[in-house]
Symmetry: C2
């Protein structure tokens, strides 16, 4: 299933960043991170990720090499001479779920203005990672003939850019968000009612990411669920949601059709890639998988819910 | 599947109480509640629940009738002349999950000393509802030849009666508890590791109840999951955990065998009965079901996780 040949193009726009992370059990200093990074590495086992993002001159050959090893296309990655790459610093609480942002330095990301090359505009699958909705819209303006468009968002944009978000939501097929964000966006505390309101806003499908509790997908006549992989060791959950969305979109691209079966499998692929993302800092675990390991975890998820 | 004839005996010990409940959306005054009540009504669609509990003289014919309509055996329900029934008063927060206990009047329950009649001692299935572990042990001392014993507990007993709880855990087959309680009992924040520790304490299976997020079951070589039914209307979640356990144990009793398939079905039955418990105050919804309605919701759960 994870054939490396003839992978369909998956355009991924988002952040490529350096993360400095403290957890109660360890630390990482300026490790490769960002929404586009996690999504692209996760998707790379299923599709050909083509990143549109911006980095500074401090983004070195080592980081590039990591993408290249996974066959990620970096032709859309702008490098700003003399600029510094987006840097996020955060600290996780004892429960490894709640976290505090200690520092956010947008650096070159503050001037990010995505311009797509001709070949990128024709990507059949598009994932708009968690960046401002007006930037997401600007990418969509340039995209032609996309078959499936996914969008991830967060509490910041729901509160600070509600109108822009509403406008871009009308133009996408799949919205990824978590329980609290669904509540924040709709005012509905129950996930079923929140999802119905979101579907009325435009997306054909809404995927509610619930971390260690799994994920739900709602469509007009569809309700699917996948549990999270129970993990014995959580090193760093940063990027798990991005890896989920990247795995989901990559799986949909590989499937080439949108139906109950492909969506159900995409949920399992997403939660599988999210589980690998949690097992190391940065993309260290996520970038070193093989098809057998991925398939084994997907099969385990299937066995957990087997009738 | 929900045959009313020849239901196997399921002994249920726990509280039968009156609940006064405030939610942001409504109130109930001295409504029928208690762990044994919710468990017995939920189990009644699958097994013959035989309650062992205590009530006061204020426990009227109307409450009794509700049990009798569901074919619940009350021969083990002691009535204390001149006594008052256990009364719990609580208030739910806006999120309908967190709640404050406003008042707990144990009344006749303070002197509860379960003595089983000869025929009750021979029940093949036993559910020890959420009461003090020394009382649970006292029931187990009297039980003969039980095929499957389930036990529910809570944070209060884990902190106040840890030794008694550890002792009784060695003697049961299935432990029901929630995420936080599993963490509290084992010191392990990850549910997989917590479950492994719990299995080492005695139970063959541990069921982690996660409310709106579903439920997990772990055995030595088993990991099963069922999502919660997404509800469009939550009236009162009181008793949902007891209804879950009652449905689970009733389903296991009806199945008559302990294996992957019967445990998986019992999880779906449990989460289904919990969902009905949330849709009204007291057992108003839970006591008025028919097999078609129950089967429909079980089938929906199966479709949610279908591969």
């Amino acid at each position: 299933m994870t054939a490396q040949t003839q992978r369909p193009d998956l355009l991924i726009v988002g952040s490529v960043a350096f993360d400095t992370i403290e957890t109660p059990f360890g630390n990482a200093e300026k490790a490769l991170g960002g929404s586009a990074t996690f999504a692209a590495i996760a998707a790379s086992y299923f599709a050909l990720p083509r990143i549109v993002a911006v980095v500074g001159e401090d983004f070195g050959a080592g980081s590039r090499h990591l993408f290249e090893e996974r066959g990620v296309d970096l032709s859309g990655l702008q490098t700003i001479p003399g600029g510094k790459t987006f840097h996020w610093k955060g600290r996780y609480h004892q429960n490894m779920k709640d976290r505090d942002t200690l520092e956010t330095r947008l650096n070159v990301f503050a001037g990010f203005d995505p311009e797509l090359a001709v070949d990128l505009k024709k990507a059949p699958y598009v994932f708009l990672g968690n960046i401002g909705p007006s930037l997401q819209a600007k990418v969509l303006d340039q995209v032609e003939d996309a078959r499936l468009i996914g969008l991830d968002t967060m509490n910041l944009w729901i509160s600070e850019a509600a109108k822009d978000l509403e406008q871009v939501l009308r133009r996408v097929d799949v919205l990824f968000l978590n329980d609290e964000e669904a509540f924040q966006l709709t005012g509905e505390p129950l996930v079923l009612n929140a999802s119905r309101k979101i579907l009325a806003m435009g997306p054909k499908f809404v995927v509610i990411k619930r971390g260690e509790y799994g994920a739900l997908l709602f469509g007009e006549t569809l309700c699917l669920f996948v549990p999270a992989v129970p993990l014995g060791n959580v090193v760093d959950p940063t990027g798990a949601g991005d890896a989920f969305a990247g795995g989901f979109m990559g799986s949909m691209a590989a499937a080439g059709a949108v139906n109950r079966s492909t969506l159900s499998r995409a949920l399992r692929v997403g939660t599988t890639m999210a589980s690998f993302a949690c097992e190391s800092f940065s993309v260290n675990a996520l970038s070193r998988l093989d098809p057998e390991k991925i398939d084994g975890r997907i099969a385990f998820l299937e066995s957990m819910s087997a009738v």
